[in-house]
């Protein structure tokens, strides 16, 4: 073989080796980087940080437990223990002997136990073999059966032996224990003290970074059982719509929000508020006795948080409404509801940006975004609350910014008028309903359909007011009435604002002048022209008294300036200076300038005569009262308003605009020809009609000729689910609002909507658009708070759906309640009444709560449905408190509406509508006892028991307001049988500010009722009563027992009240007084609806609904 020729290498080996070494090191570093990057997660730091906070707390607690007294006690135990050991040592031999015996028995027991178990196992195996041989008819069947029998016997024998051994061993053990008993007792006592410390130490072990268990969190080891791990709840029936399928939510929020469901980590502010709240509850004795200690401990804990020098930072804080959300005892426990179903966001994400956090303001967002090192946001950033935030543009459901959080309620509670404790969302939906957003923007869900139009009918506008007023009003409604709900359509930002060039601005003003005049011309031309007969001359002073006292102020305001709460200066009033209920009717200021005496007189006497769908009810004014009020309202003048200059429309502009519409359907030449022969009035009528269409006036007002047109605005049914890129953000990023505030537009949906409702034409800034293409949404002059609430509703309207069983108020009982609440909201009942613990705007006007309209909260449990039905339809059927000056109005409810209300009240009170006790005749004995108790409790001091005509009861002596109480003969017709007794026992619990005294106070310990008559029966003062009562009882003892039994006494009282009740009342609409006398308008005659006998007037809501 030839020696091989050396072949030269192409590369230098040394160089290659060097490169190999370097790249290998690089690969190692790269792998380290990869593992490290994968290992270092933000949430781990948050968990460590939370552990540190916990560790600090536990150490503090441990320190608190380590006081000298405890230490001394422990030392004492140790000494005693040593003594005990000495005692044992003295009996050492006997003890050792006993121990030895025990050891022996332990061994025997072990063997016996094993024998027994093994043999039993063999028996089970043999059972199978035996059965098999029988089934297969094997020849050894008999033999196997015998084996089985033998084994069974053996197992029994062994079991006996085992029992014997157990007994013997236990006896031996007892002997040993006897020696050790003393020491054991001491040990147990010691444990009592050390147990809590041990528990704390155990907790410390779990969270301390010094703990050995931290090894489990090392990279590559952390797959076993790390202490830092992702926490999640799987929500099986709260789905996320993935477009092609629905998947269950898996909320991982608590991976960082560690203490979200754990009380004790509140912010200081929150803790202070909660502590004050709980303290109030404690002081008012409203906490159940069993929970008292627990509550007190909680108050102490909250107080510690308030006093502690440091604030718990987010994300470690407790949920601020733990009693409502997330808490295990709340209606929305974490394990069932999670977080994202309300807050939205990406459920499975564990990174700040990916989870869909959305900032409240641009300032907040820029703080979130700041990081020291790109790619590696870490503790160095988190401490400054910079989260390395990157918006996730692909997320379809980013979290609601915090100011809109309650929007999330609507997903499940959309079928409710009110959400329990949802103060903000309730106000928001009420506001949207009242301001009429739903009129122009279809919102196709139960809450916002079937509602009445928010504006008054314009079909008779010429009877009511003058074109000169109407033109000025439409031009700037806010100027006439600063609190009006009528928005401003004209001379807005995109027409005359700072961004509009001067020449275009001049042109726009001319265009708008022409449109306004044309609209007014059209409205007055198409209006009915009935003339109304003026009433007699009235007295303005008396009129003012009436307006203030009979209840007008529940729905109306009569001031356009208020004293600012902060500055104390007088300023122009805003809507939100008053409760929403009082914005229901218009502001009376200037009404004398707007309209005239004859119209006012007839309108207040019977609003339905002018507009059969008018939301204003009749207060059944007499001619004199109506005249007085008319006289007063005429004094409310704004004379300057009508003197303000008004620009006449330019005929050329009218023609130009009219032509603009005409050329949509004909050629330019034809349009010119048509307009040439059209008189200016005709042109204005045409332009007016087209302008009403353009601005959608008909959406809120009834206008002749516009029936059945679709509402003008964008449908909002699922607006909250619309992606941000589908909104036109225009070119503006920030702007100066008309009220001087500086507003920012962030690139997210809530911000877009907020700025849209706050300044509706803002997105036209810097845009070049033809006149008719410019944004048309009118300006409601919403304050920041109002705009926030409106936005809350809109972003809450999403297409996200939850399983049917999660929908709130979906059972038939709750549906009845909600239907009732809808009418309550539509008729503004809360102006006067408290319903479901809120309302009664009129209370601001009437200082003495005794003269206020009733609290309807327990109405359903209280009133019998037939009575309630009659009363709602016609309040004159029964006067319960004839001394009230506030009047329950006649609303003109249809039978259906009244029935809905009654059914809803009954459902709300958890009471059946009809009562089996209606025709009960209580036993004579009960009545007699009741009568005596009635006298003993001096009920007659306030309540009259004289039979009366329900419609015209004598007015009691009103000089002493404290003596006012309903006549009890009316109770049988009106009240539920069971409710009467219940009411007597606990009036204050049902209606907090009632004047009915609590005769049967609650016992603070047991929670039961105490009888005021217990013991009193034997006093001389009650001797006569005692004598009268005795015949009805078996013994004096029985009498005494009954007198101390609150429930029995109240039942007797009820039976007595039932016995004196009248059985008849007039049914609605049949009396002389009802309905209010009609003032026939002279000409032309219009059909007048008279209560029930006439065909029921069509409900406005029904008509509004059918338009869709």
């Amino acid at each position: 073989m030839k020696p091989q020729e050396p072949i030269p290498h192409n590369y230098s080996m040394r160089k290659l080796n060097l490169i190999f070494a370097l790249t290998s090191l690089g690969l190692l570093a790269g792998t380290g980087l990869m593992v490290g990057y994968d290992y270092i997660r933000g949430w781990k730091w948050f968990q460590l940080e939370f552990n540190r906070i916990q560790e600090e707390r536990i150490e503090q607690e441990l320190k608190a437990k380590d006081d000298p007294a405890t230490r001394a006690k422990l030392a004492e135990f140790d000494r005693e223990m040593r003594e005990g050991q000495v005692v044992i040592a003295k009996k050492r031999d006997a003890y050792l002997e006993a121990q030895k015996v025990l050891d022996e028995w332990e061994g025997k027991h072990y063997a016996a136990d094993q024998d027994y178990r093994f043999t039993k196992a063999k028996l089970d195996a043999q059972r199978y073999v035996t059965e098999l041989s029988v089934v297969q008819h094997r020849s050894d069947g008999r033999e196997q059966q015998k084996k089985f029998a033998d084994l069974t016997a053996r197992v029994q024998a062994l079991n006996l032996r085992l029992q014997q051994a157990t007994r013997d061993r236990d006896a031996a053990r007892a002997r040993v224990d006897a020696y050790l008993a003393e020491i054991k007792k001491i040990e147990d006592r010691k444990k009592e003290i050390t147990a809590s410390v041990e528990l704390l130490n155990k907790q410390l072990e779990a969270v301390s970074p010094k703990s050995k268990r931290m090894v489990l969190n090392l990279p590559m080891l952390d797959f076993i059982n790390p202490t830092l791990k992702i926490d999640q709840v799987v929500l099986g029936d709260l789905f996320i719509d993935m477009n092609y399928m629905s998947v269950p939510r898996v909320d991982r929020c608590q991976t960082c929000h560690r203490a979200i469901d754990r009380p004790g980590f509140e912010s200081k502010k929150e803790a202070e508020r909660l502590a004050a709240e709980l303290k109030r509850e404690l002081d008012a004795n409203r906490i159940q006795p069993t929970k008292r200690a627990e509550t007190e401990a909680r108050v102490a804990e909250l107080q510690r948080i308030v006093d502690s020098p440091r604030e718990i930072p987010n994300p470690f804080r407790t949920h601020p409404k733990l009693d409502m959300f997330v808490g295990s005892a709340s209606p929305h426990p974490l394990l069932e509801y999670g977080c994202t179903v309300c807050h939205r966001g990406q459920d499975r994400a564990t990174e700040f940006g990916r989870a869909g956090h959305t900032a409240m303001s641009p300032k907040m967002e820029s703080r979130w975004k700041r990081v020291k090192m790109p790619f590696f946001p870490g503790p160095w950033d988190y401490k400054q609350r910079n989260w390395g935030y990157e918006e996730n543009p692909f997320l379809e459901t980013p979290m609601y910014p915090r100011q809109y959080t309650e929007a999330g309620c609507l997903k499940c509670h959309g079928g409710q008028i009110e959400v329990k404790n949802g103060d903000q969302i309730n106000k928001a939906t009420h506001m949207v309903e009242l301001y009429g957003c739903h009129a122009c923007h279809k919102i196709n869900n139960w809450r916002f359909t079937g509602l009445q139009k928010p504006g008054p009918s314009l079909e008779g506008i010429a009877e009511k007011t003058y074109p000169a007023w109407a033109v000025r009003w439409i031009s700037n409604p806010n100027h006439f009435r600063p609190t009006t709900r009528m928005p401003s359509f004209f001379y807005q930002r995109n027409m005359v604002g700072p961004a509009v060039p001067a020449d275009e601005r001049a042109r726009n003003i001319k265009y708008q002048d022409a449109e306004i005049h044309s609209i007014v011309t059209y409205l007055f031309d198409r209006s009915t022209h009935r003339t109304w007969t003026p009433g007699p001359q009235g007295d303005a002073g008396r009129g003012k008294q009436l307006v203030d006292s009979i209840g007008c102020m529940a729905c109306h305001i009569q001031q356009d300036t208020v004293k600012d709460e902060k500055t104390g200066a007088v300023r122009v009033a805003r809507r939100d200076d008053f409760p929403l209920e009082r914005n229901f009717g218009f502001n009376l200021v200037g009404v004398g300038t707007k309209t005239h005496a004859a119209w006012i007189y007839n309108w207040i006497k019977n609003p339905k005569a002018y507009d059969k769908l008018a939301p204003m009810p009749s207060l059944r004014l007499s001619d004199g009262e109506a005249a007085d009020i008319t006289a007063y309202l005429l004094t409310l003048q704004k004379p300057k308003f009508l003197q303000e200059p008004m620009r006449a429309p330019d005929p050329n502009v009218i023609r130009e605009l009219a032509k603009g519409y005409l050329i949509g359907t004909m050629t330019d030449t034809d349009a010119d020809a048509k307009l040439r022969v059209m008189p200016v009035k005709e042109q204005m009528l045409y332009l007016g009609q087209r302008s009403i269409e353009k601005y959608g006036c008909y959406s809120c007002h009834d206008i002749k000729g516009f029936d059945g047109l679709k509402p003008i605005g964008t449908e909002l049914t699922t607006e909250g689910s619309k992606a941000a890129h589908l909104f036109d953000f225009g070119f503006v990023h920030e702007y100066e609002h008309e009220d001087g505030k500086h507003e920012h537009i962030m690139h997210n949906v809530p911000s877009w909507i907020y700025n849209k409702v706050r300044s509706p034409r803002i997105y036209d800034d810097e845009r070049t658009k033809p006149y008719n293409d410019k944004l048309k949404m009118p300006n409601f002059h919403l304050s920041e708070e109002e705009a926030r609430l409106a936005t809350m509703v809109v972003v809450g309207l999403t297409k996200e759906r939850v399983a049917a069983n999660r929908l709130a108020a979906s059972d038939s009982r709750m549906r009845a309640v909600e239907e009732e609440r809808k009418i309550i909201s539509q008729r503004n009942c809360r102006g006067c009444h408290i319903v479901n613990r809120s309302g009664r705007a009129i209370a601001a006007m009437i200082s003495d709560s005794n003269f206020l309209p009733p609290d309807l909260t327990p109405q359903g449990a209280r009133a019998q449905s037939p009575w309630l039905f009659n009363f709602i339809k016609d309040p004159t059927v029964m006067k319960i408190r004839p001394w009230l000056s506030v009047r329950m109005p006649t609303f003109g409810f249809s039978d259906h509406e009244a029935a809905t209300l009654v059914a809803g009240f009954a459902a709300e009170g958890n009471e059946s509508q009809f009562d089996t006790h209606r025709y009960d005749i209580p036993p004579q004995g009960n009545v007699a006892v009741g009568r005596e108790v009635f006298a003993m409790l001096r009920c007659a001091q306030c309540h009259s028991t004289t039979s009366v005509d329900p419609a015209n009861p004598p007015v009691p002596n009103t000089a002493d307001a404290t003596s006012l109480a309903p006549n009890l003969t009316l109770a049988k017709l009106r009240l539920h049988h069971e409710w009467i007794a219940d009411w007597i026992r606990r009036p204050g619990e049902m209606i907090p500010d009632t004047r009915m005294p609590a005769n049967f106070p609650r016992d603070a310990q047991t929670g039961g009722f105490k009888s005021p008559l217990a013991g009193a029966i034997d006093t001389p003062a009650f001797a006569a009563h005692k004598a009268a009562l005795l015949p009805y009882f078996e013994s004096e003892e029985a009498l005494r027992k009954t007198m101390s039994d609150a429930v029995a006494l109240t039942n007797y009282l009820r039976d007595y009240i039932w016995s004196i009740g009248i059985n008849q009342m007039r049914s609605a609409g049949a009396g002389p007084e009802s309905p209010a006398p009609q003032q026939q308008p002279t000409s032309p005659p219009v059909p007048v609806q008279t209560g029930d006998r006439a065909p029921a007037p069509p409900v406005r809501s029904a008509r509004a609904g059918s338009r869709r």
Binding site: G30, T31, F375
Partner: protein
Amino acid sequence: MTFLKNFINVLSVASISFIFLSATFAFIVYFCLLDGKVKSKAGVAFIIVGLILATAGLWFLPMFYLSIAYFLSLWGLATLGPRLWDSKTGLWLLIAGAGGFGLSLLDSNFKLIAAKPDNVPIGAMIFLLGIFTWIALRKAYLNDRQIAAGGMTFEKTETNEKLFVWPDLVYTEMLCMIALTIVMIIWSVALRAPLEEAANPTSSPNPAKAPWYFLGLQEMLVYFDPWLAGVVLPTLIIVGLMAIPYIDTNPKGNGYYSFRERKWEIGVFLYGFLVLWSFLIITGTFLRGPNWNFFGPFEFWDPNKLEPLVNVDLSELIWVKALSMPLPKLWIIREAFGLGLILLYLGLAPAAAKGPFRRFYLKMGAPRYYVGAYLFLVMLALPIKMVLRWIFNLKYIVHIQEIFFNI
């Protein structure tokens, strides 16, 4: 003059770049690979046409700097000649390219698009394409010089030497593997995988883009009817690629780089691959924004930007504009001009076989010649249609909506 104005107005970054690229391609072939000199008539014509095309944008202000840059680079190519293949020149070109790209990253709009994790590989692709094309052509040029001098190709020289599989091959391969792994790891750590939300049929992204390798096809959809751009042309691309070995039977250049020995084959292929395929992918990635509008590299991708839709058919140009008469009702008459033009275009192949390309026809034989020639004509149809669109707003040459036949 109107024509010129129209021409300038329709030029945009992408169209001017496309023309520039075509010119660059021709310049490289002529000056750098074939040792062409400006003195020769053809060379002068090349330079003049190229410069006019590239500087046309001078009148169009936003294109000013771009045009100057294009002018300078073409001029540079012409003066550089074969020195383009010096390794120093290559290095400088690379530095210039990387520097330009790096400086551009300072612009926030450019960064937004170029640094998007989806687009980073396409950015890298530009450089890789450039580097590998340069290396291949450099080797080809050097070999050509060797062959012309009667020497051996480098590949031949190399294969005559003996080499160890280990360590010369396997070791270096392993080193490359390690280096690449490091690059991949760092890349994956530094740039997050661009994952998006679950697909939503009601919300399509704007712009909706094909996967990067199909962006060339998507770009073709702008100029051709879907059945052509989406069905016929892609099929022909695949069929054509498969047919190459049967059409090109030239045994020269097997196993070694060479340009002169197969200038038509390499030239046509590289033009198709670099200018018509890769450049369109790059355009689709970096220059096509919301609503599939063109955006300059430093322009903000504003979804509100609108481009007027004013394209016309050839029939409209001729009947309505030139002859001032309504379109004939019968499509065969209406589209006669377009159909004629297409037939003329298709007739180029037999005509060339008789005329200037007779040499090819004789060498290849009729079947090979015609298959190759028609594949080539179809390929050229794309740039032709693009230029026609830019200059005349031409929508379709033949537009027969009656039978859904549009070209």
